[in-house]
Amino acid sequence: MKILPVIVICVANVTACHAASVSWGAAIDTGIIDTSGAALATQNVVRIGYFGTFTNQQVQANALTPSGITALNSDWHQFAQSTIGTNTFSPGSFSESSSPLYSSLPGFTPSSQIYFWALKSSDPVNNPLTTVTQTAIGYVPFANLPAWRFPASDVSPGVSIDISQLSNANSVLLAGTYISASSSSLNPIFGTANHAVQLANVSAVPEPSSFAIGVITALAAVGSRNRRRK
C-alpha cells in the first residue's frame, strides 16, 4: 500500500501522472567558474533543454550579447531549471533530479538532444536573463553519450548527466570554455584534481545600424567643429 499518495495525485490528473526523469549536475570533478576564475556563486541559474530552430552557429552568434540571449531564450525549450548550490551547498556546483511532466511542457519533443546552459547574472533570483553578464552553453552529442538525450517517453529509463562529460572529445561548447587544468577556486569543493567550465562574457555591442549612425553623427560633429574653427 506504499503508493497511496500516488493514487491521490493520479486521480486528480490521470494523463499527467508520470514523467520523464533527468538527473543532472556539476558534482563529480568539474565545476563552473566565471571569467575571473571564481567559482560561480550560488543562486545563479542553470538549465537544460534544447533550441527549437537555431542552429549551433546561430546559438554561437547570439550567445554573447543581451539581445542575443533574449533571442536564444525565445527559441529555448526548457526541460528543467536549477540553481548553483542546489544539493551541493557550494558555489560552482549543483546536483539536481528533474521529472517534469511532458504534458506540462507544450511543444517539447522527447528524445531531443540535451543542451546545458549556465548563466551568471547580477540579479539571478529575480531577473536571471535580463541581468545576465556571463554564460556558457554546451552539450555532448547523444551519438557519443546516449545519456545526453531526453527520455523518449514518460516510462523510458531516466538518464544521468554531468558537466564533467563536457570533457568528451566530441562535446560542443557554443559559449564558454572547458578548462582541463585545475582551478584553485574549485579546490575547496572538488579537491585539487578538478576541471571547470568557464563562462564567457556577455557584453552589449551596438547594433550595426545604430553603430553606423553613431559614427556618422560623430564625424559630422567633428566636421562641424572644424568648420567653425576655420
Partner: protein
Amino acid sequence: MKTNRSLLRQLAAITALLLPAVASFAQTTATTDPVGFVTMNISGNGGSGQPAYTFTTLGMTNAVAYQATTSSVTGSTTLVDLNSTWADNAYNGAGGTVTHYVEIVSGPGAGTTYDVSATSASAHTLTLTQPLASNIATGASYKVRPHWTIASVFGAANQNGLAGGNSTTADQIQLFHNNAYLIYYYQTSGLGGTGWRQSGAPFVDASATVIYPDDGLLIARLQSGNTSVVVQGAVKTGQTSIPVVSGYSLLGNVYAAAMTLGTSNLYTADPNTGLAGGNSTSADQVMFWNGTGFNVYYYQTSGLGGIGWRQTGAPFVDATTAPIPVNAALFISRSGAPFNWIAPQFPASFN
C-alpha cells in the same frame, strides 16, 4: 532467472540452512514459509557504450519477523494483538521511519500490506501508515516482515554485483515511484563521499531506501559484462494485493514462480477489480521491456480478432500464455480509477 523446477531445487537445498534463523525471529509462531534465493540476471552492454537496461524485481520477501492473529482493529491504522511480545519500536525505525510492514494473510483483505510507523509494547499495538482495508476482521492472521532496502539487496558496500562510480558511470537502480523514476547508485567518487546515493542528492545516504516486494526495478548498467545479484529470502505465499494506480505502475512478479497473463488475475471482467478491457487503444495495457522498447498487451473485448489477451498489432493471436516470469517487471498503464491487483499464489502448491 531460474525455472520453477530449478528454483524449487534451490529452495530445498538451502531451506535447512535458513530455517533455524527464521524460527529465532518468530516470537509467537514459527513460520513455515519456504526459503531460498532467486538470481537477478543483469545484462551488460557488451562494450557498446549504451546503457543496458534490465527490468526486474526481487521475487522474494524477507523472513517473517513476527506472526500471530489480531485481537482487534482499533481505528483504521492500528492493529492490536494483546498477546504480542514485541518491544517498543521493534518494527519501526527512529522517528517512525518505516523498516517493516504488516501483511494480512487470512480472511477479507488477505494479501494487503501496510507499513509500520510505531510499535508499542505496553499497548500491544502496531501503528500503520496506511488505513487498513475496511473489511479486515478481528482474528485475522498477520505477518510482520522487514522491508528490503537498497543496502540489504545490493550490499551495504555494494558488494553484491553492481558497479560503483559516480552519477554518470555507476550502475543504476531506478524505481518508479510518485510518477517518475528515482535513480540510485553506489557513489565512490565525486562530491558527497562514498555510499548509496539518489541522483540529485549526492550528500544523502540512501542505503535505507525501501524496495517494496511488488516494486519493479530498472537496472541500467554501463559495464560491458553481465552480472547477477542473488536475493536470499522467503518465498511469498498466499495471494497478494498489489496497488495499481491510475497512469503507470512499474510492478514485479512477487512470486518465485512464473505466471502468465491468463493466470495472473490482472483481467477479472470487472474494471473495478482488474484491468479494463477494450480494443488496442481503449483497453488498459500491460507492457514488457523487450530490449529497445515495450511489448504491449491488453485484454481485447471489442474490435477484430475476438475476445482475450492480445499483443498490439496481433489482434487475432491469443496471448493468454504470454509469460510473466520469475523476476519479471511489468508496466501497467491504467486509464481508470486505481484498483488492487489480487495476484494468486504461484506456484499454487509447494507440495
